[in-house]
Amino acid sequence: MTQEKIITAKNMTKKFGHFVANDNLTFDVYKGEIFGFLGANGAGKTTAIRILCGLSMPSAGEIKVAGFDIYKQNEKIKKNIGYMSQKFSLYEDLTVYENLNFYASIYGMQKNEIKKKADELLEKLEFSYAKNKLIKDIPLGWKQKLAFSTAVFHNPKIVFLDEPTGGVDPVTRRQFWDLIYQTAEEGITVFVTTHYMDEAEYCDRVSIMDEGKIVALDTPLNLIEQYKVQNMDEVFVKIARK
């Protein structure tokens, strides 16, 4: 983790009619950081992620992602980010390799490069034997790991993970977090939402949203101390029930 800012948001606001989904959000995310983005359902997380990914325009605010301006350099932003949601998986009727190849080619990677990198990746995951298996035939835990690997395959500067570990068994969940740590060590910033509060503690810093505002932003340890509780779960409940 460095002090280089990869996302800067100043007074980011998004209104839908009279409803303010994001109310003056100001925060920075640093390069190589694992940034947890928490909040109850409907707190405004999805709206914020959509803006940062360039899928939706904010109503106001100055926002830079990966060094690019969200208003003017939308396409460049998309090239430099990866995205994975719980729903977005891979194409069930394509093989593992075909999926990797497809996504990599979208981002303009060369054929040789894709082939080499895909082999390396599958080797690292100890999943080479499944290279030509259809996605629908591999277990859920593997699908999620692969979906993540696909999202970072083109070496983005930031990867956005929207509830990546829902429903996965505890062992696979930890393997998944291992991947996240490795990715962060390689300098890729990880921006993650989750409903598992123990996972919140795996993050370098977390922000907690409530009714469109960021109500807390710090390292998990500092938040636990500040709220005089035992863990992030209790922090979260204290904030949301206030």
């Binding site: 109850a40 359902n41 068994d169 409903h195 795996y202």
Partner: protein, 306 residues
């Protein structure tokens, strides 16, 4: 107290794989019973068989002394059922949904209002809103109200808290606890291990097999080893170092801490500390703790594999 749900040697096969493999469970009347396991473990299949929606391949299930295959019609009168997905009519309003399910079961909202009062009163201000426009937590409360409107004897809930934020989840479990006062057997499945402690008894399920059935306290008591909690300045480095440590039996992240078990019958805290210090870790804290359900689940998973 007699049993409400009796499951014996239940097996269900899909495409040559056993989705459920020789399940035996006895759920007491008025019990809050949790079925805990990851996606794909067989939770939904089991609940659907109990709910008379699927037929077992072998084995028998009786609920309130009625057979799920033969007496499905009678059983459907005493069940309250909430499937995994949000299964109400999104284009009907809150009150229309509730009224519909009340009439389907031959009752009225007023008749059983007492039972749902605590839950329904929280969404009543929105009763003319379409169900599709409710937030996740509110949808869930509505679904529960609809499942309870006919005062069922047995409540079957398939992953009611999946995808719901931590606060709404807590509220939901408080509601279930309150419901127990009304003589309802509650069978609930969940992938969240931390919800286990709120159940009277739990069954841990993985790949169609029940790993253990116990009260939450007993399951953690059965954890055979001493569990150490370790933290330091750089958790991820400690994790990697411990994976290469010769005496490591298991090491897992738990929030800001690591949970560690040793291959030796009694772990030597000092030697672990020394090892980690040698590797360049600082500020190492190690203390013995009680395992939680997730520790036990992972332990049982690995045991089951071997």
């Amino acid at each position: 107290m007699s049993n409400s749900i009796e499951i014996s040697s239940l097996t269900k096969v899909y495409d040559n794989t056993k989705a459920l493999n020789d399940i035996n469970l006895h759920i007491k009347k008025n019990e809050l019973f949790g079925l805990i396991g990851p996606d794909g473990a067989g939770k939904t299949t089991l609940i659907r068989i109990i709910a008379t929606l699927l037929l077992p391949d072998s084995g028998t299930i009786t609920v309130e002394n009625l057979d799920v295959v033969k007496d499905y019609k009678s059983l459907r009168k005493i069940y309250g059922y909430m499937p995994g997905r949000f299964s109400l009519y999104q284009d009907l309003t809150v009150i229309e949904n509730l009224n519909f399910f009340a009439t389907v079961f031959g009752t009225t909202v007023d008749e059983n209002y007492d039972l749902i009062k605590d839950i329904y009163s929280q969404i009543e201000p929105f009763k003319n809103r379409r169900a599709g426009q409710l937030s996740g937590g509110m949808k869930q409360k509505l679904a529960l109200s609809c499942a309870l409107i006919h005062k069922p004897k047995v409540l079957l809930l398939d992953e009611p808290t999946t995808g719901v934020d931590a606060v709404s989840r807590k509220e939901f479990w408080e509601m279930l606890k309150n419901l127990q006062k009304n003589d309802i057997t509650i069978f609930v499945s969940t992938p969240y291990m931390d919800e286990a402690s709120l159940c009277d008894r739990i069954a841990l399920i993985q790949k169609g097999k029940i790993l253990s059935v116990e009260t939450p306290e007993n399951i953690t008591k059965q954890f055979g080893k001493q569990l150490l909690q370790i933290n330091s300045d750089n958790k991820y480095k400690v994790l990697k170092d411990l994976r290469n440590y010769e005496f490591t039996n298991s090491v897992n992240s738990f929030g800001q801490f690591l949970h560690y078990t040793d291959k030796r019958s009694v772990p030597e805290v000092q030697s672990i500390k020394n090892y980690l210090n040698e590797k360049g870790n600082s500020n190492i804290n190690i203390k013995e703790i009680m395992p939680n359900i997730e520790d036990c689940f992972m332990d049982l998973m690995i045991e089951d594999k071997n």
